[in-house]
Symmetry: C2
């Protein structure tokens, strides 16, 4: 078996050689990393050597040294990635953004912010809160997920149907290229038509094209006056009709539209003792949140919506939260989506998107395809229905044997790209979806990605073994 | 002087060789093009040979033939580009999207549309109007500008501060690569994190990386109940305070915020006999349009805004349109921005962006820098103040002698990229901003662009001589 690219040196050799490389570069070794939490993957720290630059210049010095000495680099942010994109191996240098943690500038008048890559989302949210602003993107892992990591995986969340994903909020960025050169495009305006917009290579690039050091983000106004409802729907088509109704209302802003298919809402509610008496048996649940000028206006819009939509959409029940506390309980059913893990350890889960109008056919077909593999198979299905992003969990303890996993992947991913969806909606490719990428991404897309990777990182030293190139 | 790349054949030779290449490929020669309007640049049709594919397969056949025979290709859409990006030369083949003009599918429930690249913006707008939808991007040249051309130049317009630019509305696209291979990424969802998102190379790529054949766009709900006002403001800082006020109102949507600096509003109004008695002498004018649930509610929001903002912002006057007809007259002052050309023929004009909070310092500095070149110099300044995009016109007949033009370019562009702005906000680079690109784009960005161009189009056959590579 050939040696992994970029693993010429042992950890001890790397520690010796990197010492004193740059005054603003901290180097940690295996002893320093022991006892630190490696995040979502046990192997994230397996490389054993971590460089923590405190400035872009220090990061560039590290990368230049690695380029000159053929040493591979694994960029890391908040270690919340779910697909193994941060896994490191002996001989590789982990390049961490943890000391690039300054909020450089907030510009409330123009609703932009400049941050270093290692700033956690929640820290940024708190800093801009006083200006009545939000990032327009929120995630369950907000406490540790960093802006740089969210850029590298093109993070999504519940507001993507309106604000888009991370890519749509990024105005500019700075990154160290595999050569060690610094690509600086700290644009602070949305309108740029000045040659190819190459920053998009780094957004969703999963560290394959460079190490993001700074980011300029567009911000959104806060809309705190809200109301929340649970509606019963027969299918995604009904949910889309509800969504369109609220999106068309000029004085109301739709803040969330999360659908839970029948098995998910039933089991989740049972576990939490959440009252489902408002929901017709066998119906799915749609969580709707809207904002308006006042809480009363938001609530009135939901009440009117329920009445207007009841007959034409065929709603299967509805309940409006009567307090913030009740609204939080509604959201908890959706956000505590790991409720099933204690009883189904390591249940295999997936994160896909399909065009919203295909959702019903997709879910019905999926059920049939899973049952064709094993008649006992069933899945929890829930997600961001307005943008077609579903999370799917097989109701069976994992990990599955490889042949069974491949059969399930086939059942879940086949046809999805051709329909206009994605086999990875918001988690990335990393190591865990390499097989899916090789099987389901179009050959032309894969070929073009390889061509560009080869041109930018000819030795393949940036995050090797992740997105296949 | 070396021959231009990709110009081995004469027009006659090309016509002979391309005849019958593909059943769905029309080939026009110099005789056919004579008398057709070449759009914004007289030299657009100078190549003399135009291929009009009726399908992606026909376009791929043409491109494959050109790749095999080292023939250069100039992609063309609606020919409304302002920077010479469509200029062709003898020996090059023009590849026109004019017969790729089908609206493939409208999906009103999910608010998306799939169109061929040659569909004009206005045609698309009319088709989606019945579904209560808009593209979220509008341009003066809507009648002829094509979706493919708008993708290739990353078109902007008046709603970029809220909806972003073309890049933010594109969900997927299909393009023929310089090799003749078809890159098909007709994603119809916003959430994709499945490897590098390479479609962004073609958005704003000005035809350097391939020929766009199909586009999937995200659509926005229409908001027809509107009100329009003209406000007097001392400077851009005041305008930004007004903008933030209306963006923060939950039940109102800001639909436009266009600022005209004093000289522009004074001369424009004088020419059109537009009453400026509401505006304090020497103040700038801010055109504000908002939508709400009803016209009355929109008008009330403007009235309240005027009252609330008058003192703290120091407004210099204000008038609210009392009818649709009056609102149209307000907009005409801004949109008929060529009013000065009859008296100042070929006045040199520029399209830049700076972070909105830099606008006042930029405009003051610009005036000083222009006067340092020639004390008689002055400029019309107006534009999309919410996103920092200014249009600037030198009040002097053009074209300027080259040394003078370079001095003016220096005065306008120097420092703009470092401040986080752009020397080309929404028009592209083309042939006319090559010098600006070479002078003001960062060397690292230019180097990375060359690396990628070389990897995708090693012979330099796609749109040669435009964005420099």
């Amino acid at each position: 078996m050939p040696q992994r690219p970029g693993t010429r040196f042992t950890a001890t050799e790397l520690l010796e050689r990197l010492a004193g490389l740059h005054p603003d570069l901290l180097i940690l070794g295996p002893a320093d990393l022991q006892g630190r939490h490696p995040g979502e993957h046990a192997e994230n720290f397996a490389g054993g050597v971590m460089a923590q630059p405190g400035s872009t210049a220090a990061a560039a010095a590290l990368v230049s040294w690695c380029a000159a000495h053929d040493v591979a680099i694994v960029p890391q942010g908040g270690l919340t990635g779910l697909v193994g994109g941060n896994v490191s191996h002996a001989g590789e240098v982990i390049l961490s953004s943890s000391r690039l943690n300054r909020i450089v500038a907030i510009h409330p008048e123009e609703m932009t912010v400049v941050v270093e890559a290692g700033v956690p989302l929640e820290t940024l949210q708190q800093a801009i809160d006083a200006h009545g602003l939000t990032t327009g993107i929120d995630l369950g892992s907000r406490g540790s997920a960093t802006i740089g990591g969210m850029v590298s995986t093109n993070a999504g969340g519940i507001l993507a149907f309106r604000n888009g994903v991370m890519r749509h909020q990024v105005l500019g960025l700075e990154a160290v290229l595999p050569s060690g050169a610094v690509f600086s495009d700290l644009t602070r305006v949305v309108k740029v038509s000045a040659g190819p917009d190459l920053k998009h290579l780094f957004i969703g690039g999963e560290g394959a094209f460079g190490f993001v050091t700074k980011v300029v983000l567009k911000l959104e106004p806060q809309r705190p006056a809200r109301a929340t409802a649970f509606l019963g729907v027969a299918d995604a088509a009904a949910a889309l009709a509800v969504i369109r109704h609220f999106r068309d209302l000029p004085s109301v802003t739709l803040e969330g539209a999360e659908m839970m298919w029948p098995r998910y809402i039933r089991d989740g509610a049972a576990l939490k003792g959440f009252d489902l008496s408002w929901l017709e048996d066998g119906a799915a649940a749609l969580l709707i949140e809207v904002s308006a000028e006042t809480v009363e206006a938001a609530t009135a819009a939901l009440e009117e919506g329920l009445e207007t939509l009841w007959e034409p959409v065929g709603l299967k029940g509805g309940v409006i939260a009567q307090s913030l506390d009740q609204a939080r309980k509604f959201w908890d059913i959706r956000e505590d989506s790991g409720f099933y893990y204690p009883s189904i350890p390591h249940a295999p889960s997936f994160d896909i998107s399909v065009p919203p109008t295909h959702l019903d056919a997709y879910v019905a077909g999926l059920d049939a395809r899973l049952k064709a593999i094993d008649p006992s198979y069933a899945a929890y299905v829930y997600g961001h229905v307005a943008d077609g992003n579903l999370h799917l969990t097989l109701i069976k303890p994992g990990p599955l044997p490889m042949d069974e996993l491949l059969a399930v992947e086939n059942a879940i991913y086949t046809g999805i790209v051709e329909a206009g969806g994605s086999f990875s909606a918001e988690h990335g490719v990393g190591t865990e979806k390499r097989h899916a990428y090789e099987t389901f991404a179009s050959p032309e897309k894969q070929a073009l990605a390889r061509t560009i990777k080869q041109a930018i990182d000819p030795k393949g030293l940036f995050n090797p073994g992740k997105v296949p190139f």
